[in-house]
Symmetry: C2
Subunit: 229 residues, 2 copies
């Protein structure tokens, strides 16, 4: 597949004309990866950032005893590690593949040159960084104030807003990730996620079958999500 249409998929490169996209394509390096592969680790020297074309990735911080907190799941069309090479030149998190796929690598120096020539590149990057910052601020708030039930409810609602089908006020959605990964994103243990799901079932708010979730009472789920422990 041609590069330019792939680049267009990203929010980060919207609003660019064909000439800009061509100069972007000129510095782009394609990189495919296998399931389970680590693209980069926390602390690695950051020589550029990425745009995910296909597959599924997570960005996470890993504690010294091996537990991990997922900062963000990356889906095709999203850029990631944009923050990386402007601070101290090291990646602040680890990137690991949940499903095999392909990413486009945008080298630091080349992209810097583009930004100097065309402010639109920099403006888009600023927008993208702002969005990440907002997401992180929200995560910090949730970790500080909200209990696991509330965070799980928030997750389900977000997931429903991304992809779900509704019928008669009942919403069907897929988790899209293993429950262990979900736990790592919520900042808790897998066991706790199990127990919390069970509580939601017992209260008649959801049904659960594997990774398939049926939301029976969206109102109460919303209440849970906003109620701050």
């Amino acid at each position: 597949m041609e590069l330019v249409p792939l680049l267009k998929n990203s929010l980060l490169f919207s609003g660019l004309n064909d000439a800009d996209l061509a100069s972007l394509a000129a510095i782009t390096v394609r990189r495919s990866f296998a399931k389970g592969e680590t693209l980069f680790s926390e602390g690695d020297e950051a020589t550029g950032f990425y745009l995910l074309v296909s597959g599924h990735l997570k960005l996470c911080r890993v504690s010294s005893d091996g537990r991990e907190k997922v900062l963000h799941f990356v889906r095709p069309g999203e850029t990631f590690a944009e923050a990386a090479f402007f601070g101290d030149g090291r990646y602040p998190a680890e990137s690991r593949a949940l499903e095999a796929g392909e990413a486009l690598f945008l080298p630091r120096q080349g992209f810097m040159n583009l930004m100097e020539k065309n402010p639109q590149f920099a403006l888009n990057l600023v927008v993208s960084l702002s969005l990440s910052l907002r997401r992180f601020a929200r995560q910090i708030e949730e970790l500080t104030f909200a209990d696991v039930a509330s965070r799980l409810a928030s997750f389900l609602i977000k997931r429903a807003s991304e992809q779900s089908t509704s019928y008669n006020g009942i919403t069907y959605l897929e988790l899209g990730i293993k429950k262990g990964e979900l736990a790592a994103q919520l900042g808790t243990a897998g066991e706790t996620v199990s127990r919390t799901f069970r509580k939601l079932k017992e209260e008649g708010i959801i049904e659960l079958d594997g990774r398939k979730v049926t939301v029976l009472n969206m109102d109460r789920l919303q209440q849970l999500a906003t109620r701050q422990a």
Copy 2:
């Protein structure tokens, strides 16, 4: 005082020549504030960002029942709320003054114009956003993995690296904020901070007198900070 030298204080505007600074000064609005004043609240429409000249501010998220988590303390020379007006146009946190002072307001539209004309503005902003992102990633990690003792130790070490005097391996530092504010930054309750300080005293790691801290055993403090509960 003249505007231009004030602007120069900020990392964000380093590397700008006099002409750039002049055009920046042209769009800058001065705003002074009293102790306890709220410059903006979470969700307010964001029409620009700020550079703190004097005084002391905190940026925080407030839960529905009034508890707050301090995301960051802002000191003179720092910019804040840069993330604000590039996302959905709302401030993602609340800004409240701990000490009276003055800030420079950089309006959105004016700054956008500058960025379009001169990429250096945008590049600096990208760097600044990246640093915030890195800080947030670290906070998320700490909230997820580290207990209060570890987070407090990290805080003391950071504080020591900013401002302290050392003699014979013993380090003297000032908290610089009330313990209640410290608790809000660590994401815990004031009572827990008290108890954790006491534990550190009982173990002979620190001495405490009001806001003055004496670190007797920096090694063990480091261990506490890195050990991920």
